[in-house]
């Protein structure tokens, strides 16, 4: 490996820094200098201090843990219910046709619309938030899993049959591995939806967690806390996304560089 890739990385980083500075940081600082009120845009150094303060005062970490716990449980539920259903519906056409109207209509009722109903049903009990998170993820998991199963190359199934495999063997040795990449991609997308749904639920109907943290800070006009909270939400979301992408890369490793099979 010569200087080519290294130089390109350096080049990209420099451009990236210029971009962030020019588009975000510079206008921000200018606005502060022009006397914009701290409520609207806190000075940058304050943001830094706030991060430290929040961690030290044991406000941020518990909120993060609570939010993470909720989203992981809700997501796990969505996966455990969604993947099997997706496999069944993808495999058996009639089952899919039976469920299709139901799936299609629920898909359009966005998760956020369920929030008031969940509050009515569960109050601020945890189950309410878990329901919203589950809902946000469930349909995406099911739809992507169905697409994965449907997308299996029929020639692969035929080949397996000419090699003596029975239906059960075909399902386990051919359909499942072939559907895996699309399913994992679906999991990544579903998690992102779950994360957003969680924050929304916490903004409206919670007394703990990151969403509640920034809503509460807003009431006390602590814009610095709000911004830090947003950054933390972004970092967590991005981290999960990165992890999923690494898993996807692993699952897809038999693909060629151009993505051919």
């Amino acid at each position: 490996m010569g200087s080519g890739p290294r130089r390109r990385f350096l080049h990209a980083s420099i451009l990236g820094l210029i971009g962030v500075a020019a588009v975000l940081l510079f206008p921000w600082q200018v606005a502060v200098w022009l006397g914009v009120r701290p409520v609207v845009l806190p000075p940058l150094p304050l943001i830094g201090r706030t991060v430290v303060d929040l961690f030290a005062s044991e406000v941020l970490l518990p909120a993060v843990l609570v939010s993470l716990a909720r989203v992981n449980v809700g997501f796990a539920l969505a996966v455990l219910t969604g993947v099997p259903l997706g496999l069944v519906l993808g495999r058996w056409r009639r089952a899919y046709q039976a469920c299709e109207p139901l799936l299609e209509s629920f898909r359009f009722v966005i998760p956020f619309a369920w929030i008031p109903l969940a509050i009515l049903w569960f109050g601020t009990h945890e189950a309410g938030k878990l329901f919203i998170i589950w809902y946000a993820g469930f349909f995406l998991v099911v739809l992507h899993t169905i697409a994965g199963v449907r997308g299996v190359d029929p020639d692969l199934v035929k080949a397996a049959r000419t090699l003596g495999a029975g239906e059960g063997t075909i399902f386990i040795k051919v359909v499942l591995p072939a559907a895996l990449p699309a399913t994992v991609t679906g999991l990544r997308i579903a998690f992102a939806a779950c994360w957003i749904a969680l924050i929304a639920a916490e903004l409206v109907a919670a007394r703990s967690g990151l969403g509640y943290l920034i809503m509460d800070a807003r009431e006390f006009l602590q814009t610095n806390v709000v911004i830090v909270g947003m950054a933390v939400i972004a970092v967590i979301g991005a981290t999960y996304n990165w992890v999923f992408q690494r898993v996807e890369a692993r699952v897809f490793r038999y693909r060629s560089a151009e993505g051919r099979l």
Binding site: I18, V40, F108, I110, V204
Partner: protein, 228 residues
């Protein structure tokens, strides 16, 4: 379900009561007002997002420098889920239309931009070569090759953003507005009218579905050659 039975039994309203609640709102014209208000805000944020997202996406698509510079801020801001902007929006714009429109804008702009970028990047190199051998200069290449090639991507971004806009509006209105359909079901929840809550959800779903369908029709008009 660990929900007390008294709560459960009183909040699964019968279909007639749902329809009744909706009809009530419809009759007084309030329902229509709410829906129109919500649609108005979605459109506002959506159009602003399209006005920003499409040009910037195309720019990033054709200019590697622009791409390098803008990619970082975009990648930094994107993971901040749209919803998390709500408190900040309230701090900046207070309760009302501006906040809702702003959050909608944020939701939509990333979707539009990234899909437009993907569309612009997917232009077949052979098409560009062919055009150049037919005498096309840079501007013509952009107008007559890049933009049409990117069009499916642009439209996909616009369609996804539409759904995002509708969702964003609904949830923001629950927190930061005094009218609109999101506010309506939130208010119905507070005043314990489950029939209206569910009715509102149905309306939200219907409008969302309608918007999607309308957009698909538009897409088919614009892209007849992509039928296959």
């Amino acid at each position: 379900m660990s929900v007390s039975s008294t709560v459960a039994s009183s909040v699964i309203p019968s279909p007639p009561s749902v329809l009744g609640a909706l009809a009530g709102q419809l009759a007084t014209g309030v329902l229509v007002e709410h829906v129109v208000a919500s649609l108005g805000r979605s459109v506002l944020g959506y159009l602003a997002a399209a006005a920003v997202g499409v040009p910037v996406g195309l720019l990033m698509g054709v200019s590697p420098t622009a791409r390098g510079v803008l990619a970082a801020p975009v990648e930094l801001l994107r993971p901040v889920s749209s919803i998390a902007w709500i408190p900040l929006a309230i701090l900046w714009f207070g309760i009302g239309v501006s906040s809702v429109a702003f959050v909608t804008f944020i939701v939509c702009v990333f979707l539009v931009l990234l899909n437009t970028l993907a569309g612009a990047l997917s232009v077949d190199g052979d098409l560009l070569k062919a055009a150049r051998t037919l005498g096309a200069g840079r501007r013509v290449l952009f107008q007559k090759v890049v933009v049409p090639s990117a069009l499916p991507g642009i439209l996909l971004g616009l369609r996804v953003a539409l759904a995002g806009a509708w969702g964003g509006v609904v949830v923001t209105e629950m927190i930061a507005s005094q009218n609109g359909i999101g506010y309506m079901i939130h208010h119905a929840q507070i005043t314990f009218q489950p029939g209206l809550v569910i009715g509102g959800m149905l309306v939200i779903g219907l409008v969302g579905y309608g918007l999607n369908r309308a957009f698909l029709v538009l897409e088919q008009r614009l892209l007849p050659y992509a039928r296959a």
